[in-house]
Subunit: 406 residues, 2 copies
């Protein structure tokens, strides 16, 4: 049986970043840039005013005070977007708005609050200006030819805005992984139908679909099949659009465990047991050339194995470098029991305080206890050989990314 | 001029949670539940086996060891989903798979690894079982009639899975805010076109659209208008589908600042200046009955005012209780200068270590420095009256939620 680290390494060694794809900026939100984005223009593209006021020659304002204002003839009005038609000479000024191009000759902008109207449409400057005042110089943010965004950069609002500011409408990013979800189990009934005896509702389908979407990946297919060898195999063959297949159920030791059988027949199993709890009976391999995770059928086991093994694979496929689950240290609020030898992941609620994280494990445990995951925002990690953790101890938690969202 | 706290309180006092809407589970991902979800069935719905093995009467296994096995006649095979047809009597057992209903009479499941095949199709039990072993009792996760999810619960994969497990296909949630984005400025050109002199590319449109989507809200409209009183007013009138309007530009003191003028004419201004940097010239009010934020035109100012003022409004409209930006304490890695009296928000990179967060402010500052936001995952908060922060100090950071994602 593999340790969690061995299983994670086996997974990450088996999947690769997907090919790049050119897409409109907004579609690329959250994706990883596949190639450097080079600035084709400078930012700002031209010297421009940082404030509303008057473009002046600083020298003309020397000694200006409210008592000894310097009157300048206003030769032009420059709202943002209007090109100056004339340069500024000694004794002259142009009225200028924020973002407007600074006319040739001017070397400072006096903010409107430091001026007052003078006679014959002139402006009286009341405060001395220094060269450069309130001017944003061409290229001060980025120069033409510089790398604006390196390959590997995750694109958020600011990065997409920078690409737009440089005039780009599209970027080339690693495309989103497409995931097929195949739930298996003759006992599973779609929600909304009547529940026959011995049957339960299929909850893994929506849980995994939601989690896949939350990971920035796409749901390519949603299939459900009964415990039937041919049906399982047929479903796996239908996942030809997917970059990754997730199944639930059918990976234990029973003779109805057809996922494992199909994996053996159509591809190869890399592992099918991991020293973790919940989630021991989790399989990973390739089927028809595609990576496949055979997740346990228990809802909580499926959720936990997703965080520990599937989410890292999706991150690697999406081109990310930080693939493993994000951990933090936290002070444990209550005792937690544990029996070796598996690493236990307990649904828990972490609260970030001025003294760091405090973590409260869910009251109920057990791989079928879906209610224990309600409101949980982290997994408390109990080391393999621990015989229990005590309140007050510093412990490791895994932050659930979809809970630390908007 | 309002302090940041006063502005945030004014905003939160002016917006309300949107009306509830019934939607399919997957669509409700990330939304807030509007009414309690009550369990109509128990979970699990019936006593079922936690493992693959044999359903037995525990008493029948007393004294069982590999040397003194207890042979039981196997009367039935129970894969998951199949209802037992017969009860278990003394000396009998049923082969049972994980998730299958435990037949009447049986009070324990012996895992298959603790059995071996016996003569005439019997099973030999090699280890003593105790009543309850490997049985998940009906209702142990939740009982029928219990509140499964309280109103106000944010719906993630686990909560949606629980709703599905209870047989629900839809939930009633606070609907997503629909946001109209109106960029203003005669100097702004859409990316992809040639850039005339004195013009710049419109970056705020994609930045804000991406941030709105990242907040789990919807982009209802994307409009751009020149600095023209009638055009601005016309655009605001066209935002009739939106729950919230965001504008950029046009809120300063210049006579081209038509957003402020339109806000005064079509509605009311609550505030239009906040003691923060960047982002001082930010307006908030209502226009034609809708809340409107007049964000500054500088890209970085627009981003920062979004985090500090708009994101809290969107959270309140989405029904969340935790509306204000999430903060943390961090150890500052380099000195940062500051001049009173505005609160400064500096783009920064926070790293979570075993000793807590470390934070490195961006090298460049200035409200037009969009590159400073590249890769930033937090905002360093510099208090109003600070005369600078020193390396090693504990400082407050605001975690950018879209950066602590998947």
């Amino acid at each position: 049986m593999l340790t969690v680290e061995e299983a994670q390494q086996a997974v990450l060694a088996s999947v690769e970043a997907l090919p790049p794809e050119r897409m409109p900026l907004l579609q690329a939100m959250g994706c990883v840039l596949a190639e450097a984005l080079v600035a084709g223009i400078a930012l700002p593209p031209f010297d421009n005013s940082a404030m509303d006021g008057y473009a002046v020659i600083a020298e003309d304002t020397r000694g200006a005070t409210p008592g000894t204002p310097r009157a300048l003839a206003v030769i032009e009005d420059l709202p943002a977007g209007k090109s100056p038609t004339r340069g500024i000479e000694r004794g002259k000024a142009a009225r200028i708005m924020t973002g407007a191009a600074v006319p040739a000759g001017a070397d400072a902008v006096v903010i409107v609050e430091h001026t007052r109207p003078g006679p014959s449409g002139s402006a009286e400057v009341l405060v001395e200006a220094r060269p450069g005042d309130n001017i944003r110089s061409a290229g001060e943010d980025i120069r033409a030819g510089e790398v604006a965004l390196p390959p590997g950069q995750v694109l958020g609002p600011a990065e997409l805005g920078l690409a737009a500011a440089l005039g780009y409408t599209h970027v080339t990013v690693i495309r989103r992984p497409r995931v097929a979800i195949v739930t298996t189990g003759s006992e599973l009934i779609p929600p909304g139908q009547d529940l026959p005896p011995a049957a339960i509702y299929n909850s893994n389908q929506v849980t995994l679909a939601a989690r896949v979407l939350g990971a920035g990946a796409e749901v390519a297919q949603l299939l459900h099949v009964a415990d039937d060898e041919g049906a399982v195999e047929g479903a796996l063959r239908r996942c030809s659009e997917a970059d990754l297949i997730l199944t639930t159920g059918g990976v234990s030791v029973g003779e109805y465990d057809f996922v494992k059988a199909a994996l053996e027949r159509l591809g190869e199993i890399r592992f099918w047991r991991v020293l973790m709890k919940p989630g021991k009976p989790v399989a990973f391999g390739k089927v028809l050339g595609r990576p496949l995770f055979g997740l346990p059928g228990n809802p909580l086991s499926a959720l936990v194995t997703f965080e520990i093994l599937v989410a890292p694979a999706l991150r690697k496929m999406a081109g990310r470098e930080d693939c493993l689950p994000r951990t933090a240290q936290a002070a444990l609020l209550t005792d937690v029991s544990h029996t070796p030898p598996r690493r236990d992941y307990v649904q828990a609620l972490a609260q970030l305080t001025e003294d760091g994280y405090l973590v409260q494990p869910a009251a109920k445990r057990g791989s079928a206890m879906l209610t224990s995951a309600v409101g949980a925002n982290c997994l408390l990690v109990i080391p393999e050989q621990s015989t229990g953790l005590r309140a007050g101890e510093q412990v490791t938690i895994i932050l659930l990314p979809h809970r630390h969202g908007p």
